[in-house]
């Protein structure tokens, strides 16, 4: 089967990969680039486990074809920590016990960071509705909401 050549920027690095026309960005990230931190929970855009940023927009990578990534800038969970320093959201998720199995965590962290970038001081409802596209089956969301708001406070310098 003929494969397509794609060039993109992933977590700041220039990358190239080959993909089948029908492959999703999620499959390319996981299977071609071996960035398995982005998860597949449904493949239909309903669970948010595959959330990544594409040119600054929050997208479900299972709903985007890999060939569409040509020339795009993609940010995944693997690029969230800077060196040894965890992003405040990452640290707060651990401190607040806001994760259990952790399979939804990468997607939720990416989505939460996108929220805080546009709204540095979200109230509880804003956090809950923003994260409504990310399913978590373990936590009941309570501690996730706490962690996001606490991280927002820290980032604001409060």
């Amino acid at each position: 089967m003929a494969r397509n050549h794609v060039s993109a920027t992933v977590n700041g690095d220039s990358v190239e990969f080959l993909c089948e026309t029908g492959q999703t960005l999620l499959e390319a990230l996981r299977d071609e680039l071996r960035l398995t931190g982005t998860k597949e929970g449904c493949g239909t855009g309903d669970c948010g486990a595959c959330s990544v940023m594409v040119d600054g927009r929050l997208v479900c990578s299972c709903l985007m074809l890999a060939v569409e990534a040509e020339g795009k800038t993609i940010d995944t969970i693997e690029g969230m920590a800077k060196g040894e320093t965890l992003h405040p959201l990452q640290r707060k998720f651990i401190e607040h016990a806001a994760l259990q199995c952790g399979i939804c965590t990468p997607g939720i962290l990416i989505a939460a960071r996108a929220l805080l970038e546009r709204n540095p001081n979200p109230n509880e409802d804003e956090v809950r509705y923003w994260l409504a596209g990310n399913l978590c089956r373990c936590t009941g969301y309570h501690k996730i909401v706490d962690a996001v708001q606490d991280a927002a406070r820290e980032i604001r310098g409060g």
Binding site: E40, C42, C101, N134, R137
Partner: protein, 762 residues
């Protein structure tokens, strides 16, 4: 060591605190590796062809075209697997029969549900594997099907298993039936009890199957080598049980299969049993290549075990003073395509919260054309408790009694004789009810169309086979090798905490790992809320054993009697320096000398943990009902639960919140929807709606700690109890809000609107 350790009250330094979880950083950075994250050089991709029919006889399977497709390396069907006789084994809370396990893994004579596997292929890519599936020709003779439990119990219902005669009925019935088993529990005389009652309420309830809904679909990677050894990586709640099942199904020696558990992305009972694992090994054996198999979400819904749907009849009588005189239930559970629903556990849980003289529960395990059910967090209990706690609520209203007061008047306590066997040991049901009654939530004001409900739950909790190895490393740090899977509740943290407490050292010095099946003896599945109880017991035994060795080494090094050496503050110190004095030795100092003083130092435990302590919970929920749309909003939720001892309170709260959230989803939205053709219509998260963040309020938690006398730290277990009560509590709250009681789950807008006398607008 056969002696179980008993509870001792003592001062605690680590247990009861809230340290960071050892798997935390890996999980927030994407580094944690789950089932689908493992790959091997040269691996093939395996996919499964599934039945499009609810019930059909397989007349022929032609794989020739698929095999001829370039890139296809192996195809397996029923012909590649041995026939299995009836042979029962335990796996999680449910028992499996290998005759059924092999048929569920790969259909033999018939397909029994939409999604039942009929063939599997391994190919060089997923797209080739999918193309190959389309080339397999299966000739079916479609048969009438039955998916409803009441219909399936009728004598003229389509029959799934021609050789299935109802067990538990004497004499043996003269014709086969979909009722695989009838069971009965009880004591006293219910007829006499009802005769003494002033008030009797009898109601019938129906529930739909719901799925565990773990976000990680089943995924595995198998590699079978030419010398007959197999390696398997899989997301599982019990790698030892998976190994046993694969060995049996593939007729291999158990020791020739090595299973490495990956990080698990949720299980909740749904990952207690094999699905693709034996197929992946079989495909690898046939192709001589590693084979990776990852389910789609649709496959997870269609072919892995949901909980049963059910029909439950409850009758309770009591005096005007509020004392229950008799309780009776009939519990009819869908087993799915093969027998083995949790009707047994549900029947035992039905009334066990109450101290009752006259009880009778009859249960039926009924095969229907749906996927074989699997355990789901306190398997069966939420279903039967929905019925019983709804009737309890109705009775308390009829009597004009506060619902918690009514429960307290009948509450089970230490010494209560259960109707299924044992007397209850020290339990905390009364303490839990009293904590719920005292909570500000219970007396907070309510607005119009708002209502409050309460409901309670009981779960046994279990122990079972458990092993661990604690190794002292040359620098004085420790590796705790555990064989009981951390299914995400944080048992790696809680078990390390108990070991650190025993040794008197900082938690950071204990590194927990989950060992593969070749590194430890058999461990049971993480089920029954057993992990922190049983694995904790093993960890404490291993630590105490290590302390004995450490003391002996120090006695040797310092040339003092063993009795003069105490283990205190994380080091060896004189018991009494006035009697025998010596320079204390730290773990690191002893570890550095281990080679010269007798060899490496370790502790280990191989136990069958006994004495699990039952757990009880009480939930309070406020709802608001929209009379126009039928939508039910959860305004406030409080979970009160006796966990014995919260080793890591934040993770205990997480269990209580997560269990409640699953129960809320079960109550309000979740259901399997089948068409008249017996095909599942909602196999995806769009149409099977689990709760999202904006559906839920904060979930308050109150941890009650009545220590389990049969655990060194008093642990009971906490993971399952919190899912039991939400359905009943929410039904009671809806009744309290709008005066209408719901007898069928889910309480979704159309159903609520119908109950309110309106109709859904389309």
């Amino acid at each position: 060591m056969s002696d179980m350790l008993k509870y001792e009250e003592r001062e605690l330094k680590v247990v009861g605190t809230r340290p960071l979880r050892p798997d935390g950083v890996d999980k927030v950075t994407g580094r944690a590796r789950y089932g689908a994250d493992y790959n091997l050089p040269g691996q093939l991709i395996g996919k499964v062809l599934r039945s499009p029919h609810a019930h059909a006889r397989i007349k022929a399977i032609d794989i020739s075209a698929a095999l001829a497709l370039p890139g296809v390396k192996a195809v397996v069907t029923r012909d590649d697997f041995a026939e299995m006789p009836n042979e029962f084994a335990s796996a999680g809370e449910l028992t499996v029969n290998y005759r059924a396990v092999t048929r569920n893994m790969m259909a033999r004579e018939k397909v029994l549900y939409d999604g039942h596997p009929v063939a599997a292929v391994a190919a060089v890519s997923e797209s080739v594997a999918r193309a190959a599936l389309a080339l397999i020709k299966v000739e079916y003779e479609v048969l009438p099907h039955v998916i409803d439990v009441v219909e399936a119990m009728r004598p003229d219902a389509p029959l799934l298993h021609e050789e299935q005669y109802t067990e538990g009925v004497k004499p043996k019935p003269d014709r086969p039936s979909n009722i695989a088993k009838r069971l009965e529990y009880g004591h006293g005389d219910v007829a006499a009890g009802f005769a003494k009652a002033d008030v009797i309420v009898e109601r019938e309830f129906n529930t739909k199957p719901v799925h565990q809904g773990y976000i990680e679909p089943q995924a595995c990677l198998a590699s079978y080598s030419e010398d007959g050894q197999a390696e398997l990586w899989t997301c599982t709640q019990g790698h030892f049980v998976f190994r046993a099942q694969c060995a049996k199904l593939l007729q291999m020696d158990v020791s020739k299969i090595r299973v490495t558990p990956t990080e698990i992305g949720g299980g909740f009972g749904g990952k207690n049993n094999v699905y693709n694992e034996p197929l992946a090994i079989a495909l690898s054996r046939k192709s001589n290549r590693p084979v990776k198999m990852v389910m789609t979400r649709e496959e997870v819904f269609r072919a892995t075990g949901p909980t049963p749907g059910a029909n439950v009849k409850v009758k309770i009588g009591c005096t005007l003073g509020g004392r229950i005189t008799a309780a009776q239930a009939e519990v009819n559970f869908q087993a799915g395509a093969f027998p083995g629903s949790p009707v047994n556990q549900a029947s035992m849980c039905a009334f066990t919260r109450y101290d009752l003289a006259n009880v009778r529960v009859v249960g039926h395990d009924v095969t229907v054309n749906r996927p074989k059910v699997a355990a789901y967090r306190a398997p069966g209990a939420p279903i039967v408790v929905f019925g019983v706690e709804s009737v309890i609520d109705e009775l308390s209203k009829k009597l004009g009694l506060d619902p918690i007061e009514f429960r307290l008047k009948n509450a089970a306590k230490e010494g209560t004789q259960t109707y299924y066997g044992p007397k209850l040991s020290r339990i905390g049901y009364i303490e839990t009810l009293e904590a719920a009654r005292a909570h500000p939530h219970y007396s907070a004001p309510l607005g119009p169309n708002q209502g409050r409900g309460v409901a309670t739950g009981f779960w046994f909790n279990i122990g079972n086979e458990t092993t661990c190895a604690l190794n002292l490393q040359p620098d004085g740090t420790l590796t705790l090798n555990l064989g009981t899977i951390d299914v995400a509740g944080g048992s790696r943290a809680s078990l390390s905490m108990m070991v650190a407490e025993e040794l008197g050292i900082a938690l950071e010095r204990v590194r927990p790992i989950i060992g593969d099946t070749s590194t430890l003896g058999f461990n049971f599945v993480t089920a029954g809320s057993r992990s922190t109880f049983a694995s904790g017991m093993a960890g404490v035994i291993a630590a105490r054993q290590m302390i004995e060795t450490l003391r002996a080494r120090v006695a040797k090094i310092r040339e003092v009697p063993l009795e003069a050496v105490a283990w205190k503050n994380g080091r060896a110190e004189p018991v009494d320096a006035r009697v025998v004095k010596f320079e204390p030795m730290s773990l690191a100092e002893i570890a550095a000398m281990a080679g010269r003083t007798g060899g490496p130092i370790a502790g280990h435990a191989e136990i069958n943990a006994q004495g699990a302590g039952p757990g009880f919970g009480a939930h309070i929920v406020d709802v608001e009902v929209d009379r126009e749309t039928g939508a039910v909003k959860i305004l406030r939720y409080t979970v009160v639960q006796d966990v014995g001892k919260a080793i890591h309170p934040a993770y205990v709260e997480g269990q209580m919140q997560g269990g409640a959230a699953q129960g809320i989803g079960w109550a309000l939205n979740e259901e399997y929807v089948y068409g008249a053709d017996g095909v599942l219509q909602n196999p995806g998260f769009l149409d099977y709606r689990v709760p999202v963040a904006s559906d839920l309020p904060r979930i308050d938690t109150v941890i009650v700690e009545v220590p389990n006398p049969n655990h060194p730290y008093g642990v009971r277990g906490c993971g399952e109890v919190p899912i039991i009560s939400p359905m009943a509590a929410i039904a009671n709250a809806i009744e309290n809000a709008v005066g209408v009681r719901l007898y069928a789950q889910p309480f979704s807008p159309p159903h609520v609107l119908e109950a309110l006398g309106g109709t859904a607008k389309r």
